[in-house]
Symmetry: C2
């Protein structure tokens, strides 16, 4: 296993900023509230070109800055109007999809009171959605909907009587005695087990794929990828030592393989074997997938790395998973993913690479990656 | 049905402030982070006497005020130290249990970045937990845990292809073919369907009662008590017109009785009859329970009003529910609840009144009310 290579891949994605294309066309005044706004809140807004506009009431504040904006320029500075509202529009259009952000109000970090809260960067952040041209695949539609269940499973290794995971059960799960395959799907660094079903819309993506007959119904299990032994934010993946520590020493493999999987297999109608079990993850969750699938080849038969590095033929060796799926955004390191796929295919591994067009290290990349991965699983 | 009486009861609870006992003993320096803090955050803190302490970093701010504190005095003003942190401690101890709050930073309303977000007052608010002397009944213990499932049910009346509800299924639900009774449990004004299972700990309360053999296992369904027809915050229960509008005209009865109940009965293993169906709610949810149980006596057989008014013999008339449960905090209107219970009992209705000692119109009152109500249901 090549940790240096993994680390370099991680650095590449972490340093990819939210890119904005410069544009010469005038800003269209067709702004609408972001779909993630709190009930009744008019701001933040987005327009059809992808610009975001903010409006914050703080009558006596001197300065408010939004962390979203052109990379390296410190985001978007708001200006105060005569009524004491701070307003401002991003200098250019944002990438399509979901973006985390926060406000800096007179030197303090706060969330935008207009929008919801999403766990990212080891804190509850604000979030905004720039409507994507292909947003239909994660839209709430008039189709049968699966459930997302919060389970509390005992975890002796972390001394937790009820450790939280979310379990997507597909429409129809509640009827009959059918057994289902399971995908274990991990969030990224700084996020938690809520990410995939809230900002990721994993449940709606699956509901729509299943309704269209494009994916087999399966269960998805999402849990927190760190343990009590490593405090979130401590070290982090920004140093090779931190990366190794988090993935190998933090005990997540024990929680996942020895505690969560047996709980899921005894509390849900699963097959409970390798042939019906997949693991995938985004960013740090992809690196966890990488490490755990190689360490426990008897547990999973389908591997997915979403913006989370690549496999090499030498590290796979005699392990022959039914599928190796690798993806990233076109603004990340597509050449790395594509060349790794070529190498794996020529070595005889069933490999699929996917590049999300026009996106960086953000959730639209991963929503699309799940949409591409799901139809390939358990066939 | 006496709307004037309902309205007066509502006013009484809405105007009851968060009371704090004055104390002459010195503040104990045994402050600990609140249990609802974000991961790794040291503040806000609470001490063993119930004082709350706040610390916010905002180097260039002029003024920060916390909305929690002595009623009528505008909360707790923080003072800036030499390093740019704003700190402060409540003037007196807070009531035990959960409190919503927010910050006013230089005239703008923001949440405390140290703690989690809880939907109340029609916005995501900050929250703090003052440990209660009886907190054991809602603690996470090493007992079998039920699940809390997010369901998305079709609602034609509100033109929503997937309207959200949360469904608590008790431990063991996943095994066998047993059918279960159902409690429909409503949140209060300004809250939403997340309230009972997050700040209310309804799932942990049930897990513990069931493990102790004190309550029969049953399903709890929690959904949003307003509809698209009434914008949250519009009117509100602060005027009699607003109250009537919200409860009678907003269409929630249609969503609950004609859409949600049939969905639950067809997707979960319920009995599906009146004898195995209860409705209860807190504050506005109690008033919804009041109105809907009287309008649809064929649907529910157990009624619970938690800080949500009372029933009278004249309005019940020939309706003979198996149980009428009414509760409130001792700092609300206990005399009203107790005298209504006396009246109902002497008229032959099976009635139980419960007063939560030392609490006001807040969640510890309702957590305790659920603990008292649950063992009385479906026996």
């Amino acid at each position: 296993m090549n940790y240096k290579r993994l680390f370099i891949a991680l650095m590449a994605v972490l340093t990819s900023s939210i890119c904005q294309a410069q544009t010469n066309s005038p800003i269209k005044e067709d702004f609408q509230p972001s779909t993630f706004n709190q009930p009744g809140q008019a701001y933040p807004q987005v327009n059809s070109q992808g610009y975001a506009r903010f409006k914050i009431k703080a009558l006596k504040a001197d300065s408010i800055r939004v962390s979203l904006g052109l990379g390296g320029r410190g985001g978007t500075k708001l200006t105060k109007d005569a009524e004491g509202y701070f307003t401002g529009t991003t200098e250019g259009p944002m990438d399509e999809g979901f973006h985390y952000y926060h406000l800096t109000v007179d030197g303090g970090v706060f969330n935008d009171p207009g929008t919801g809260n999403f766990y990212g960067s080891t804190r509850w952040e604000s979030g905004i959605e720039i409507p994507a041209h292909d947003k239909d695949f994660y839209a709430m539609k008039d189709v049968p909907h699966g459930n997302v269940q919060q389970i509390l499973f005992p975890s002796k290794s972390t001394n937790t009587p009820g450790r939280r995971a979310f379990v997507y059960t597909p429409p129809g799960y509640e009827k009959g005695n059918t057994r289902y395959p399971v995908l274990y799907l991990q969030h990224g660094w700084g996020e938690d087990e809520t990410a995939w079903s809230v900002q990721g819309h994993a449940n709606l993506i699956m509901d729509n794929l299943i309704a269209d007959g494009k994916a087999k119904p399966f269960i998805i299990v999402m849990t927190y990828g760190l343990t009590n032994n490593v405090r979130p934010g401590a070290g982090g993946p920004r140093t090779p030592g931190g990366l190794t520590k988090m993935i190998l020493e933090n005990g997540f493999q024990t929680v996942l393989v020895d505690e969560l999987i047996p709980y899921v297999d005894s509390h849900f109608r699963t097959y409970g074997d390798k042939a019906h079990r997949a693991m995938a993850g985004l960013s740090m969750g992809g690196m966890e997938t990488h490490v755990i699938t190689l360490a426990k080849p008897e547990v999973f038969d389908y591997y997915g790395l979403l913006s989370g590095g690549v496999y090499t033929p030498s590290e796979l060796g005699k392990i022959k998973p039914k599928l190796v799926f690798m993806s990233c955004g076109s603004k990340e390191n597509p050449a790395g993913v594509n060349s790794a796929a070529v190498e794996l295919k020529s070595a005889g591994y069933n490999t699929v690479a996917y590049i999300s067009e026009g996106t960086a290290h953000e959730f639209l990349t991963w929503r699309r990656s799940l949409k591409e991965l799901a139809p390939l699983l358990f066939k």
